[in-house]
Protein backbone atom coordinates (compact mmCIF):
# COMPACT_ATOMS: atom_id res chain seq x y z
CA UNK A 1 0.00 0.00 0.00
CA UNK A 2 1.28 3.48 -0.92
CA UNK A 3 1.89 5.88 1.91
CA UNK A 4 0.62 9.45 1.70
CA UNK A 5 1.08 12.79 3.37
CA UNK A 6 -0.64 16.07 2.52
CA UNK A 7 0.58 19.38 1.15
CA UNK A 8 -2.07 22.08 1.63
CA UNK A 9 -4.67 19.32 1.72
CA UNK A 10 -3.46 17.59 -1.48
CA UNK A 11 -2.50 13.94 -0.91
CA UNK A 12 1.10 13.24 -2.00
CA UNK A 13 2.33 9.65 -2.33
CA UNK A 14 5.86 8.88 -1.15
CA UNK A 15 8.30 6.07 -0.71
CA UNK A 16 10.18 5.55 2.48
CA UNK A 17 13.38 7.61 2.55
CA UNK A 18 12.01 10.37 0.36
CA UNK A 19 12.05 13.94 1.60
CA UNK A 20 8.98 16.17 1.39
CA UNK A 21 10.64 17.87 -1.59
CA UNK A 22 11.44 14.58 -3.41
CA UNK A 23 7.86 13.41 -3.09
CA UNK A 24 6.41 16.79 -4.02
CA UNK A 25 8.61 17.03 -7.12
CA UNK A 26 7.65 13.49 -8.16
CA UNK A 27 3.97 14.34 -7.71
CA UNK A 28 4.32 17.60 -9.67
CA UNK A 29 3.52 19.74 -6.62
CA UNK A 30 5.74 22.84 -6.71
CA UNK A 31 7.52 23.98 -3.56
CA UNK A 32 9.64 27.12 -4.17
CA UNK A 33 13.36 26.32 -3.88
CA UNK A 34 16.77 27.63 -4.91
CA UNK A 35 19.58 25.48 -3.51
CA UNK A 36 17.81 22.21 -4.18
CA UNK A 37 18.42 20.04 -7.18
CA UNK A 38 17.32 16.40 -7.11
CA UNK A 39 20.58 15.37 -8.80
CA UNK A 40 22.65 16.35 -5.78
CA UNK A 41 22.61 15.70 -2.08
CA UNK A 42 20.24 18.22 -0.41
CA UNK A 43 21.96 21.17 1.15
CA UNK A 44 19.15 22.93 3.02
CA UNK A 45 20.86 26.31 3.00
CA UNK A 46 18.59 28.76 1.20
CA UNK A 47 15.54 27.93 3.36
CA UNK A 48 13.23 29.11 0.58
CA UNK A 49 11.53 25.68 0.63
CA UNK A 50 10.53 26.14 4.28
CA UNK A 51 7.15 24.53 4.99
CA UNK A 52 5.26 23.71 8.17
CA UNK A 53 5.11 19.95 8.75
CA UNK A 54 2.68 19.12 11.53
CA UNK A 55 3.21 22.62 12.88
CA UNK A 56 7.01 22.68 12.72
CA UNK A 57 9.02 24.85 10.35
CA UNK A 58 11.27 22.56 8.32
CA UNK A 59 13.19 22.72 5.05
CA UNK A 60 11.22 20.52 2.63
CA UNK A 61 14.43 19.48 0.85
CA UNK A 62 15.96 17.86 3.94
CA UNK A 63 12.94 16.75 5.98
CA UNK A 64 11.71 13.18 5.49
CA UNK A 65 8.14 12.62 4.35
CA UNK A 66 6.07 10.67 6.85
CA UNK A 67 2.74 8.90 6.74
CA UNK A 68 -0.22 11.19 7.35
CA UNK A 69 1.88 14.33 7.91
CA UNK A 70 0.05 17.58 7.27
CA UNK A 71 2.33 19.98 5.43
CA UNK A 72 1.48 23.63 4.86
CA UNK A 73 3.23 25.35 1.97
CA UNK A 74 1.05 28.11 0.54
CA UNK A 75 -0.35 29.68 3.72
CA UNK A 76 -0.14 33.47 4.12
CA UNK A 77 2.32 32.99 6.96
CA UNK A 78 4.71 30.92 4.85
CA UNK A 79 4.30 33.17 1.86
CA UNK A 80 5.37 36.12 3.99
CA UNK A 81 8.26 34.23 5.51
CA UNK A 82 9.50 33.11 2.10
CA UNK A 83 9.14 36.63 0.79
CA UNK A 84 11.33 37.83 3.69
CA UNK A 85 13.99 35.22 2.92
CA UNK A 86 14.03 36.21 -0.73
CA UNK A 87 14.33 39.88 0.19
CA UNK A 88 17.33 39.05 2.37
CA UNK A 89 18.98 37.18 -0.50
CA UNK A 90 18.48 40.21 -2.72
CA UNK A 91 19.87 42.82 -0.32
CA UNK A 92 22.88 40.75 0.75
CA UNK A 93 24.29 40.68 -2.77
CA UNK A 94 24.43 43.02 -5.72
CA UNK A 95 21.46 41.97 -7.80
CA UNK A 96 21.23 44.65 -10.45
CA UNK A 97 18.77 42.84 -12.70
CA UNK A 98 18.76 45.46 -15.50
CA UNK A 99 22.53 44.98 -15.82
CA UNK A 100 22.70 41.17 -15.59
CA UNK A 101 22.73 38.89 -18.60
CA UNK A 102 21.04 36.13 -16.63
CA UNK A 103 17.99 38.35 -16.10
CA UNK A 104 14.81 36.70 -17.35
CA UNK A 105 16.38 33.26 -16.93
CA UNK A 106 17.41 33.66 -13.28
CA UNK A 107 15.87 31.39 -10.70
CA UNK A 108 16.19 33.88 -7.84
CA UNK A 109 14.16 36.34 -9.89
CA UNK A 110 11.71 33.65 -10.98
CA UNK A 111 11.06 32.39 -7.47
CA UNK A 112 10.61 35.98 -6.28
CA UNK A 113 8.12 36.59 -9.11
CA UNK A 114 6.30 33.41 -8.16
CA UNK A 115 6.13 34.63 -4.56
CA UNK A 116 4.92 38.02 -5.82
CA UNK A 117 7.79 39.88 -4.20
CA UNK A 118 7.60 43.44 -5.52
CA UNK A 119 10.76 44.79 -3.91
CA UNK A 120 13.42 44.04 -1.31
CA UNK A 121 12.21 46.49 1.35
CA UNK A 122 15.27 46.11 3.60
CA UNK A 123 18.46 48.16 3.78
CA UNK A 124 20.78 47.13 0.95
CA UNK A 125 24.30 45.93 1.82
CA UNK A 126 25.96 46.81 -1.50
CA UNK A 127 28.88 44.50 -0.63
CA UNK A 128 32.09 45.17 -2.54
CA UNK A 129 32.72 42.06 -4.57
CA UNK A 130 34.79 41.52 -7.67
CA UNK A 131 34.31 39.90 -11.05
CA UNK A 132 36.65 37.11 -12.21
CA UNK A 133 36.76 37.01 -16.00
CA UNK A 134 40.09 35.16 -16.18
CA UNK A 135 38.62 32.01 -17.75
CA UNK A 136 38.26 32.11 -21.55
CA UNK A 137 34.71 30.68 -21.54
CA UNK A 138 33.33 31.54 -18.10
CA UNK A 139 33.01 34.52 -15.78
CA UNK A 140 32.17 34.76 -12.08
CA UNK A 141 30.43 37.78 -10.61
CA UNK A 142 30.83 37.23 -6.88
CA UNK A 143 28.29 39.94 -6.09
CA UNK A 144 25.50 37.69 -7.34
CA UNK A 145 26.40 34.44 -5.56
CA UNK A 146 23.67 33.26 -3.20
CA UNK A 147 25.87 30.51 -1.67
CA UNK A 148 23.58 27.70 -2.81
CA UNK A 149 26.58 25.36 -3.26
CA UNK A 150 25.14 23.91 -6.46
CA UNK A 151 28.43 24.58 -8.28
CA UNK A 152 30.33 23.14 -5.31
CA UNK A 153 28.26 19.96 -5.39
CA UNK A 154 28.28 19.64 -9.20
CA UNK A 155 32.05 20.06 -9.37
CA UNK A 156 32.65 17.57 -6.57
CA UNK A 157 29.96 14.98 -7.20
CA UNK A 158 29.67 15.00 -11.00
CA UNK A 159 32.78 16.58 -12.49
CA UNK A 160 35.10 15.04 -9.89
CA UNK A 161 37.13 18.26 -9.78
CA UNK A 162 36.14 20.02 -6.52
CA UNK A 163 36.95 23.42 -7.99
CA UNK A 164 34.55 25.34 -5.74
CA UNK A 165 34.01 25.65 -1.99
CA UNK A 166 32.30 28.03 0.39
CA UNK A 167 34.67 29.67 2.88
CA UNK A 168 34.04 31.97 5.83
CA UNK A 169 31.07 32.02 8.16
CA UNK A 170 27.81 33.90 8.54
CA UNK A 171 27.71 37.12 6.60
CA UNK A 172 31.37 36.61 5.64
CA UNK A 173 30.65 33.31 3.83
CA UNK A 174 31.83 33.46 0.23
CA UNK A 175 32.58 31.33 -2.79
CA UNK A 176 36.16 30.11 -3.20
CA UNK A 177 37.94 28.78 -6.28
CA UNK A 178 40.62 26.15 -5.77
CA UNK A 179 43.67 27.48 -7.62
CA UNK A 180 46.86 29.13 -6.33
CA UNK A 181 45.69 32.53 -7.62
CA UNK A 182 42.07 31.96 -6.64
CA UNK A 183 41.21 32.66 -10.29
CA UNK A 184 38.97 30.40 -12.32
CA UNK A 185 41.29 30.77 -15.32
CA UNK A 186 43.97 28.88 -13.36
CA UNK A 187 41.80 25.80 -12.78
CA UNK A 188 40.99 22.94 -15.15
CA UNK A 189 37.34 23.99 -15.25
CA UNK A 190 35.72 23.45 -18.63
CA UNK A 191 32.61 25.05 -20.06
CA UNK A 192 31.31 21.48 -20.53
CA UNK A 193 31.51 20.74 -16.80
CA UNK A 194 28.26 20.30 -14.96
CA UNK A 195 29.36 23.08 -12.59
CA UNK A 196 29.28 25.57 -15.47
CA UNK A 197 25.55 25.01 -15.94
CA UNK A 198 24.00 24.78 -12.50
CA UNK A 199 24.20 28.33 -11.14
CA UNK A 200 20.63 29.49 -10.50
CA UNK A 201 21.66 33.16 -10.67
CA UNK A 202 24.08 35.17 -12.81
CA UNK A 203 27.13 34.40 -10.64
CA UNK A 204 28.71 31.80 -12.94
CA UNK A 205 28.13 32.92 -16.51
CA UNK A 206 29.00 31.28 -19.78
CA UNK A 207 30.70 33.86 -21.97
CA UNK A 208 29.85 34.74 -25.56
CA UNK A 209 26.13 34.20 -25.29
CA UNK A 210 24.88 37.12 -23.21
CA UNK A 211 21.55 38.58 -24.23
CA UNK A 212 21.07 36.01 -27.00
CA UNK A 213 17.39 35.60 -26.09
CA UNK A 214 15.23 38.65 -26.72
CA UNK A 215 13.11 40.03 -23.88
CA UNK A 216 9.76 38.27 -23.99
CA UNK A 217 11.34 34.94 -25.03
CA UNK A 218 13.53 34.33 -22.01
CA UNK A 219 13.01 31.35 -19.74
CA UNK A 220 10.68 32.92 -17.21
CA UNK A 221 9.25 35.80 -19.25
CA UNK A 222 5.85 34.26 -19.92
CA UNK A 223 5.42 31.41 -17.48
CA UNK A 224 6.35 30.98 -13.82
CA UNK A 225 9.08 28.75 -12.43
CA UNK A 226 6.43 26.39 -11.04
CA UNK A 227 5.54 25.53 -14.65
CA UNK A 228 8.85 26.04 -16.46
CA UNK A 229 11.08 24.31 -13.90
CA UNK A 230 14.57 25.06 -12.63
CA UNK A 231 17.37 26.84 -14.49
CA UNK A 232 19.39 23.66 -14.69
CA UNK A 233 16.71 21.72 -16.56
CA UNK A 234 16.48 24.51 -19.12
CA UNK A 235 20.28 24.59 -19.39
CA UNK A 236 20.36 20.93 -20.20
CA UNK A 237 17.77 21.15 -22.95
CA UNK A 238 19.33 24.23 -24.59
CA UNK A 239 19.87 23.54 -28.25
CA UNK A 240 23.34 25.05 -28.63
Amino acid sequence: MTAYFQIDGVPIPFESGQTIMDAALAAGQYIPHLCHNPEFRPHGSCRVCTVRADGRFVAACTFPASEGAKVECASDELRELRNGLLQMLFVEGNHVCPGCEKSGACQLQAVAYYCEMLAPELPHFFPRRHVDASHPDLAIDYGRCILCELCVRASREVDGKSIFAIGGRGIKAHLLVDSPSGKLGDTDMSVHDKAAHVCPVGAILIKHRGYDRPIGQRLYDQRPVSVVGDVIQAEETRDD
Binding site: F90, V91, N94, H95, V96, C97, P98, G99, C100, S103, G104, Q109, A112, Y113, E116, L118, A119, P120, E121, P123, H124, F126, R128, R129, G143, I215, D221, Q222, R223, P224
Partner: protein, 178 residues
Protein backbone atom coordinates in the same frame (compact mmCIF):
# COMPACT_ATOMS: atom_id res chain seq x y z
CA UNK B 1 -15.54 63.91 -4.11
CA UNK B 2 -12.34 65.79 -4.92
CA UNK B 3 -10.18 64.43 -7.67
CA UNK B 4 -6.98 62.65 -6.63
CA UNK B 5 -3.82 64.69 -7.23
CA UNK B 6 -0.74 62.96 -8.56
CA UNK B 7 2.84 64.23 -8.57
CA UNK B 8 5.86 62.59 -10.17
CA UNK B 9 9.62 63.18 -10.07
CA UNK B 10 12.76 61.64 -11.49
CA UNK B 11 15.71 61.53 -9.08
CA UNK B 12 18.80 59.48 -10.02
CA UNK B 13 17.00 57.79 -12.88
CA UNK B 14 17.09 57.97 -16.67
CA UNK B 15 13.51 59.19 -17.19
CA UNK B 16 12.72 55.74 -18.59
CA UNK B 17 9.98 55.23 -16.00
CA UNK B 18 8.42 58.52 -17.05
CA UNK B 19 8.63 57.46 -20.70
CA UNK B 20 6.94 54.23 -19.71
CA UNK B 21 4.27 56.23 -17.90
CA UNK B 22 3.58 57.99 -21.23
CA UNK B 23 3.38 54.49 -22.75
CA UNK B 24 -0.03 54.05 -21.20
CA UNK B 25 -0.90 55.95 -24.41
CA UNK B 26 -4.58 56.74 -24.98
CA UNK B 27 -5.30 55.65 -21.43
CA UNK B 28 -3.73 58.97 -20.39
CA UNK B 29 -6.96 60.62 -21.58
CA UNK B 30 -8.95 58.41 -19.27
CA UNK B 31 -6.52 59.11 -16.45
CA UNK B 32 -6.83 62.91 -16.75
CA UNK B 33 -10.60 62.60 -16.60
CA UNK B 34 -10.19 61.23 -13.07
CA UNK B 35 -7.05 62.85 -11.64
CA UNK B 36 -5.19 66.15 -11.55
CA UNK B 37 -1.47 66.48 -11.93
CA UNK B 38 0.60 68.48 -9.48
CA UNK B 39 4.39 68.77 -9.72
CA UNK B 40 5.60 66.54 -12.55
CA UNK B 41 7.65 66.98 -15.73
CA UNK B 42 4.30 66.68 -17.55
CA UNK B 43 3.00 69.97 -16.08
CA UNK B 44 6.34 71.60 -15.42
CA UNK B 45 5.04 72.76 -12.02
CA UNK B 46 8.18 73.21 -9.90
CA UNK B 47 6.95 73.05 -6.30
CA UNK B 48 4.82 70.22 -4.96
CA UNK B 49 1.57 70.90 -3.08
CA UNK B 50 -0.62 68.47 -1.11
CA UNK B 51 -1.10 65.30 -3.19
CA UNK B 52 -2.69 61.88 -2.91
CA UNK B 53 -0.05 59.97 -4.83
CA UNK B 54 3.64 60.66 -5.47
CA UNK B 55 5.48 58.54 -8.01
CA UNK B 56 9.26 58.58 -7.57
CA UNK B 57 11.59 57.36 -10.27
CA UNK B 58 15.29 56.97 -9.43
CA UNK B 59 17.27 56.56 -6.23
CA UNK B 60 19.05 59.19 -4.13
CA UNK B 61 22.48 60.05 -5.48
CA UNK B 62 22.85 63.66 -4.32
CA UNK B 63 21.58 66.24 -1.83
CA UNK B 64 18.99 67.61 -4.25
CA UNK B 65 17.47 64.15 -4.73
CA UNK B 66 17.04 63.91 -0.96
CA UNK B 67 15.43 67.36 -0.77
CA UNK B 68 12.91 66.56 -3.53
CA UNK B 69 12.16 63.16 -2.03
CA UNK B 70 11.52 64.64 1.43
CA UNK B 71 9.22 67.29 -0.05
CA UNK B 72 7.27 64.52 -1.81
CA UNK B 73 7.04 62.51 1.39
CA UNK B 74 5.74 65.52 3.25
CA UNK B 75 3.07 66.30 0.66
CA UNK B 76 1.94 62.87 -0.56
CA UNK B 77 -0.46 60.54 1.18
CA UNK B 78 0.93 57.56 -0.72
CA UNK B 79 4.51 57.50 -1.94
CA UNK B 80 5.46 55.00 -4.64
CA UNK B 81 8.93 53.73 -5.55
CA UNK B 82 8.56 53.46 -9.31
CA UNK B 83 11.09 51.26 -11.06
CA UNK B 84 14.39 49.54 -10.32
CA UNK B 85 16.44 52.63 -9.39
CA UNK B 86 13.95 53.93 -6.81
CA UNK B 87 13.68 50.41 -5.40
CA UNK B 88 17.33 49.39 -5.08
CA UNK B 89 19.40 52.18 -6.61
CA UNK B 90 19.54 50.34 -9.94
CA UNK B 91 22.33 50.96 -12.44
CA UNK B 92 23.48 54.23 -10.77
CA UNK B 93 24.04 52.24 -7.55
CA UNK B 94 26.72 50.21 -9.32
CA UNK B 95 28.95 53.10 -8.26
CA UNK B 96 28.52 51.84 -4.69
CA UNK B 97 31.30 49.37 -5.49
CA UNK B 98 33.73 52.30 -5.25
CA UNK B 99 34.35 55.16 -2.84
CA UNK B 100 33.19 58.61 -3.86
CA UNK B 101 36.83 59.71 -3.87
CA UNK B 102 37.79 56.96 -6.31
CA UNK B 103 34.86 57.83 -8.57
CA UNK B 104 35.57 61.56 -8.67
CA UNK B 105 39.27 60.94 -9.26
CA UNK B 106 38.56 58.53 -12.11
CA UNK B 107 36.01 60.87 -13.71
CA UNK B 108 37.69 64.22 -13.25
CA UNK B 109 41.37 63.80 -12.33
CA UNK B 110 43.05 60.65 -13.66
CA UNK B 111 40.59 59.33 -16.25
CA UNK B 112 41.67 58.65 -19.80
CA UNK B 113 42.05 61.75 -21.99
CA UNK B 114 41.87 64.24 -19.11
CA UNK B 115 44.22 67.21 -19.14
CA UNK B 116 44.58 69.30 -15.97
CA UNK B 117 41.44 67.79 -14.56
CA UNK B 118 39.64 69.23 -11.59
CA UNK B 119 36.71 68.10 -9.49
CA UNK B 120 33.72 70.39 -10.16
CA UNK B 121 32.83 72.37 -7.05
CA UNK B 122 30.42 75.05 -8.21
CA UNK B 123 27.97 75.76 -5.35
CA UNK B 124 25.09 75.26 -7.79
CA UNK B 125 25.99 71.61 -8.27
CA UNK B 126 24.24 69.39 -5.69
CA UNK B 127 26.69 67.51 -3.51
CA UNK B 128 26.97 63.81 -4.22
CA UNK B 129 26.08 61.36 -1.46
CA UNK B 130 28.63 58.73 -0.44
CA UNK B 131 26.44 56.07 -2.08
CA UNK B 132 23.33 55.85 -4.21
CA UNK B 133 20.45 54.94 -1.89
CA UNK B 134 17.14 53.18 -2.57
CA UNK B 135 14.45 55.73 -1.66
CA UNK B 136 12.98 53.57 1.13
CA UNK B 137 16.28 53.98 2.97
CA UNK B 138 15.69 57.75 3.09
CA UNK B 139 11.92 58.09 3.64
CA UNK B 140 9.00 55.78 4.36
CA UNK B 141 7.68 54.29 1.11
CA UNK B 142 4.13 52.94 0.80
CA UNK B 143 4.23 51.02 -2.49
CA UNK B 144 6.80 49.48 -4.81
CA UNK B 145 6.34 48.95 -8.53
CA UNK B 146 9.33 47.10 -10.01
CA UNK B 147 10.68 47.17 -13.56
CA UNK B 148 13.39 48.84 -15.60
CA UNK B 149 11.09 50.41 -16.48
CA UNK B 150 7.76 49.00 -15.29
CA UNK B 151 5.73 48.52 -18.48
CA UNK B 152 2.95 50.95 -19.36
CA UNK B 153 0.54 48.10 -18.67
CA UNK B 154 2.01 47.50 -15.20
CA UNK B 155 1.76 51.23 -14.40
CA UNK B 156 -1.84 51.24 -15.60
CA UNK B 157 -2.79 48.18 -13.53
CA UNK B 158 -1.06 49.69 -10.52
CA UNK B 159 -2.73 53.10 -10.80
CA UNK B 160 -6.17 51.59 -11.31
CA UNK B 161 -5.79 49.39 -8.24
CA UNK B 162 -4.27 52.14 -6.12
CA UNK B 163 -6.83 54.80 -7.04
CA UNK B 164 -9.76 52.44 -6.50
CA UNK B 165 -8.42 51.45 -3.10
CA UNK B 166 -7.78 47.81 -4.02
CA UNK B 167 -4.81 45.76 -2.91
CA UNK B 168 -1.96 45.85 -5.44
CA UNK B 169 -1.90 42.59 -7.37
CA UNK B 170 -0.07 42.46 -10.70
CA UNK B 171 -0.45 39.66 -13.24
CA UNK B 172 2.66 37.46 -13.67
CA UNK B 173 3.91 39.08 -16.88
CA UNK B 174 3.70 42.54 -15.30
CA UNK B 175 6.10 41.76 -12.44
CA UNK B 176 9.70 42.01 -13.58
CA UNK B 177 12.84 43.54 -12.14
CA UNK B 178 14.45 44.43 -15.46
Amino acid sequence: MTRPRIATASLAGCFGCHMSFLDIDERLFELVRHVDFDRTPLTDIKAIGPCDVGLIEGGCANAENVEVLRAFRQQCKALVALGACAINGGIPAMRNQFSLQEILAESYLDGMGLDQGQIPNDPEIPLLLDKVYPIHEVVQVDHFLPGCPPSGDAIWTFLQELLSGQAIRLPYTQIHYD
